[in-house]
Assembly symmetry: D2
Homo-oligomer: 340 residues x 4
């Protein structure tokens, strides 16, 4: 059985496990105060060219989204997101559980445009009754998006401008950030992201770590963020578990290097799909490929390949998703191609 169902089906990059073993019996302080956390933070600051960034490590994407959003928002504020945003549909209402509304707006290929956000904010503040409504208090975007698409540097910058104008923070969910940074189609660097956003996270779970996301506040973290993540049950006693992983991933550019594999394998697959006449739902430049399959073909393929059902396309077709990752073997791609 070939496995293209998601990008978190393996363990960790071997270098991480090696470091776990090397450091295992060192006695270290808890809660992220150990030297591996400190070292990882320094390396991430350097990679972001952001020497004053405050950085925290959390365990997973939904946790990180809820922690960041609930830390920034005032009680009467909600978070703007594309209707396709992960927080809007696939996190079991984690944001609402903290008391805040997700203000969902129309998207294009999973992306939220600065114009859409600006219009919403203008309309909101020009409505005389806006005191009876949820104040927009943050903009959430994902990069890559849930459709694998990427913002351009200009688009990010435009979003940053709107946010700045209305004095609300811009939050970039980078659960798959490595795959965005490694995509040759992108002109966006880690430094660009650090410059344009008020907070973002560098996803580890889907890019080589066992678990873990590095939350970066390029300007300033909300006061008492540590207490707030404790309050949400998101503070690991052995912070080293996350520190060691990110310290490894940000040594010798490992994070970016291993991300490239996902792009290369995805590109080979996409090329084969096109060559064989398959239609792609969307031309994603990262590690998620959305293909429209005839239902009969889909069923046949499911005998030997695991992939994600995405949505019904029409009466005879279904959109499915193939995901590659840092760990995908090119040989697996070739076997998949031979089955198409």
């Amino acid at each position: 059985m070939l496995y293209f169902e998601n990008d978190y089906c393996e363990g960790a990059h071997p270098a991480i496990l090696k470091r776990f073993i090397e450091t295992n019996m060192e006695k270290l302080p808890g809660y992220g105060m150990d030297r591996y956390c400190l070292s990882a933070k320094e390396k991430i600051r350097a990679a972001c060219a952001c020497p004053d960034a405050e950085i925290y490590f959390l365990s997973g994407g939904t946790q990180t989204n809820a922690a960041v959003i609930a830390a920034f928002l005032k009680r009467y504020e909600g978070v703007i997101a594309a209707s396709t945003g992960h927080i809007n549909g696939h996190e079991a209402g984690a944001v609402e559980y903290t008391g805040h509304k997700v203000l969902s707006l129309p998207h294009k290929d999973g992306k939220l445009s600065a114009d859409t956000v600006r219009n919403y904010l203008q309309t909101f503040y020009s409505d005389e009754n806006h005191d009876h409504m949820v104040f927009p208090g943050m903009v959430y975007i994902s990069h890559p998006t849930e459709y694998g698409t990427l913002y351009t540097r200009q688009e990010l910058s435009d979003l940053a401008d709107v946010c700045s104008l209305y004095k609300i923070p811009l939050f970039l969910d980078g659960a798959r950030l490595g795959y965005g940074l490694a995509s040759p189609a992108s002109d966006v660097t880690l430094q660009d992201i650090a410059r344009c956003t008020d907070v973002f996270y560098i996803g580890g779970t889907k890019v080589g770590a066992l678990c873990g996301e590095a939350v970066v506040f390029p300007k300033k973290a909300p006061e008492h963020f540590l207490t707030m993540i404790k309050q949400q049950g998101a503070l690991l006693a052995k912070g080293r578990v996350l520190g060691i992983q990110f310290d490894t991933l940000f040594t010798d550019n490992l994070y970016l290097e291993i991300s490239k594999n996902a792009i290369k394998t995805a590109d080979r697959l996409k090329e084969a799909l096109r060559r064989k006449g398959y239609r792609l739902l969307i031309d994603s430049p990262t590690n998620q490929i959305f293909v429209i399959l005839e239902n009969a073909k889909m069923k046949a393929l499911a005998q030997s390949v695991r992939f994600s059902f995405w949505e019904k396309y029409d009466g005879n077709h279904t959109t499915v998703r193939f995901a590659t990752s840092w760990a995908t073997d090119m040989e697996e791609i070739d076997r998949l191609i031979s089955l198409l």
Copy 2:
């Protein structure tokens, strides 16, 4: 520097890291559906003699407490706890963050007695105005307690009877459960706990794991518990991280075996303290030792040993805590003793 500050300052038991490496490139389903999670659950069910138990793995203690409590309680209910209960003072209000009150009651050496609980419940229901009050919806105890003390089998059974009478669940926080089970002073087994409680957890973070707690529902889990832990940001994508650890800890009785080390080393330390005339705040039979030190002695000791400040005892004395663990070396104990 000797390190007795807590029981989570090392990494994981080496057998766990070994298994991480062995299983690393296996492609496994996410969210706790992998075969290591399934196997770990089977082994825990066997250890609990509870073949129908439902089991979930979470990452840390505060997270587990908040998830379990908020899953069981109805909206108008609070959780009864000793005033010294971890949820009442040291979890940053994580329970209240989910909307529920901690109904704190007096303790004895960190323990909550069945009588105290019964009196509270009787008084509550005989108060004509109780519809204007928080309904008691669960009893929370920790075993070992925050003072390292242990419930007897009879005490647990009495608490279970009160809970059963008032139809509210009994929840046992076992963050340090291994050290309770391994204490020769205790007559309580894992099976006793499974029989007496409605939910409890087997602590991994403090007993050999990198992170992880195994939540056991001996009778029945609340409906849609998986969705609720997702909603609280507590669902790891790579559930294998927790499954592999507990599968290892519950192979060949490893969990109990490594727990014994904490008891043996703590016992040696206690004996030495007594011999040297130190007063213990409490006679804890597990891995936490609370000693009353003269302030001058405390300062001197702090030059070469890390321990926890607990509380001011009087003008000249302070209570401090020494913690041992699965990883404490007997040689470290001897060096500490030589400094006392």
Copy 3:
């Protein structure tokens, strides 16, 4: 200045104030246990032909919506509503503040169709990942809707069938229910509503009361609803304030009788608008009239009439709302017509 801005700009129907005076010095128990509350409940049960209905009185619409929704929903559930639903846009996120998502669906003239709901529920349960999503736990509709439109008996019945099939309650927000019941265009009676829904409320604030909404649970109220409304700060000490008002409104059919005035005055206004060639945004059969005005005309009119800005229609036109009420004088209508 003529005043058509809303339907809550006057005090109460004079019969209510008269009763306040008559009963003022009677010493009565608090929290809704007084005899006026009991009498009002009996009268409402009779009007609903629902002898076992449980009834509670609350103070306002947003409060009632939040109280009812948060009382019914399980922690992992959200409430389905039309995107135009009052709870979705104009209640400052009161539902989300209780931890629940509003699952907004497309509407037609402010109405949610049974088909739309059924499709959503089918799609939700056929999605393999629905455990990672917010469970739909209730359907919210308003009648009249925010656009003044009305469900037919068949439409209500169809919605009830879908809800019944999926075992989720149907909640009808009747903030303006009197105006719906009094509309000759409607075939829906109070008894129909009691039969089709699991909970609904009879709006008082907009229909003759100083404040107050009567929440009716035709089958059964959620357990400990009183405690939950106390918990939300919605329990009035002097429950008589609400009981006396509803007892008066449900004596001699007063509620329905005074509602008719809003319909008659609105009808006269609509007829005049049509005659004078104005376009209506929607053909509402109740007390809210949405007219498309040229901007110049709108500005001129605003000199002598207060009305609500609704939304920009196009570059030169704006949609505004005129509302009539139980207290609108026909003479005021005629003066307004003369200004059009």
Copy 4:
């Protein structure tokens, strides 16, 4: 049957109902923007000698407590209160429902001393682990307290000093404020309260109104307080209902004048109780009298008088509460005395 069960068993002061009738058909803007609200605010500002105070009107005590506390507290903060504080025991967990812990401290006769608060704050901030605890973010006191006792001007001032030192607001719950101000035993004026606190409320429900509490922010209200009360379902559409009541109560000193009646009648009752040899649990200088009755006497009395059960005193005695109010007739007192 004589009725001394509470101080909210009658309707409103007749002057209020008269004003309701006089103003009933005036068309007024909603949500507290009407001229009666504005006028009431001006009068309250004058009475407080606090020309810049921001004032809002809410409907009841629990609602006001939850709204004020949840508006001031940051997410990681709790509110300090006496263990006997109304918010701690008798509001169904309304504060916790908003996500915040009540940090309960020991009281003396229902009062919280500046020393108790200072010690708590000092201990909290000197605890190295306080980042894992709930930050104290406000001090809540009630005046009169739940035991009818009163703070002195000096005590209030001392509490204000501690709060100021730690930069946390002081909130005074004045559900029965009139009875405190009218007590000859008190040296505290409305101006003192406005000077010492950051927020307080002037209780209407128990002092002559049908419903309503006037929240006064002597310095500054939290930003977007209106939206927050809307979010909690606490914003009345017809704000006039509250405005007219407080405008009346603050005309010609009515609030204070009618409060005196509760004190006079309570004093007569206390004197009689003492004369007849009854023991008082506490020497309350306001309108609540706590008497220790023999159980047999209590039962006999209950045949013709309604009073509140307070708590078991010993095997043969019970503490009960008699409450007087603005509406208590001296003749009723005399009849009660004759039964004692």
